[in-house]
């Protein structure tokens, strides 16, 4: 790794920060400043907001984030293998094949469990798995 390769990126970083700071500051100077209580209230299409936005949001988003971690880490491993594809030959390909098969199996499992379904009817969501087993037995 050559640190000099990263010099242009560092310069660009500084340039963008200066550009953004300067233009936002200029906008602050040039723009008017006439605050009214209505203007400063959170926007809600004209209705006076009565509640704070809730700090809780559906757990589904959290599940997506966890699944993402699994797949993103897998991709990082695959990149390491792809760079040395020629040197590793069939051995590497077989190893990655087994690894990918396990990931596909994970995806299949998650899919079957319904973690990838977005709109689950409320009744189905609260139905416990042993209830389903009982129903299938009956």
């Amino acid at each position: 790794m050559n640190l000099a390769d990263y010099l242009p990126i560092a310069i660009m970083l500084l340039l963008v920060i200066v550009f953004a700071g300067a233009s936002i500051g200029l906008g602050n100077l040039l723009g008017p400043r006439r605050p009214t209580p209505e203007k400063l209230a959170p926007y809600e299409c004209g209705i006076v907001p009565e509640l704070e936005p809730s700090q809780r949001f559906p757990v589904k988003f959290y599940l997506v984030a966890m699944l993402f971690v699994i797949f993103d880490i897998e991709i990082i491993f695959l990149f390491a293998w792809a760079v040395r594809f020629r040197e590793l030959g069939w051995f590497g390909l077989a190893a990655v094949g087994i690894f990918t098969a396990l990931v596909i199996e994970t995806l299949g499992y998650v899919w079957k469990r319904g973690a990838l379904d977005w709109n689950i009817p409320r009744r189905a969501r609260y139905r416990l798995s042993h209830d389903v087993a009982d129903e299938e037995a009956a």
């Binding site: 660009m12 953004a20 797949f71 977005w118």
Partner: protein
Amino acid sequence: MDGWDVAIVIVKVLVVFALLLAATILLVWIERKVVADMQNRIGPERAGPWGILQTLADGLKLLFKEQIRPNKVEVGMYLLAPVLTLLPAFLIFMVIPIGVPFTVTLGGVERVVSMQGTDLNVGLLYILAMSSLAVYAVVLAGWSSGSKYPLLGGVRATAQAISYEAAMGLALVPVVFYAGSLSISEIVAAQSGTWGGIVPRWNIVPLFLSFVIFFIAIIAETNRAPFDLVEAEQEIVGGFHTEYSGFRFACFFLAEYINMFNMSAIAATLFLGGWNGPTFGLTGFVSWLLPIIYFFIKTFVLIFIFMWVRATLPRFRYDQLMTLGWKRLIPAALLWLVLSAVVVGWRQFGAPWT
């Protein structure tokens, strides 16, 4: 590395910066004109010839508008988010080569200047990392605004971006083992030449499915229609930037268009051969200029497809978006990865039992 090298680096950075700003100004105008044409309207036509200065006029207007700071915001994050959104947008283009190198004699030494901000040996990982960073600004803007619609927009943006990032990364793995390198300039170099003198040796030919998956994923990553649930006007007003006004809003707008240009440039570089193209045996200045022209033609063709898709398709529903990402693109990308690896392996190492 002496003073001249540093000077070259600074000039490169300024060129990339100016290029991206100019591209944005042009892009917004082109998009409005193209969509207007597709919808049988005229579009902007007052500012400058054919309305080409419309974006500049809009930007100047935003500079003179009040920057409202609502009373429920988390001040630090709220002020930081517009800057954060611009950073990855500008930084990502630094590793894209737009043409062939040229030599210049400065300070008595002949120097080779590449038409690329910097040639990182981990260029592709850098691109993936920067495109992941872009989501931070959106989330922080949404969360720090202290309002319902931005919060919803921000959460949606995260889920959408990370869902499609997995598919995007998987679609790029075959590109890496075709080129055998993560360096963008080597990936471009591996795509030079032709098969049988006719078909260009671009990655899109053997890896067409990868290209399709990648292109769908980048439309979702840049939050463009039909994946613009992040700022779906009919449901959540402006999405994450509802509470922003004045030039802070302009920063988000600027970043969105720069990202569109960046992603098209990346797709053109990784799959359409970058600056590769016929030079007709010409030499000298023309042979240096032609690759740059090829690069921009390819990029703008992809940008046109972006606009075409926007004008054609209605917005997805959220569950459809998740279904497409997780149940279609990721399995397809995984299977295609294994298939193409086996085919390439068979060609390069012979049958596995020999």
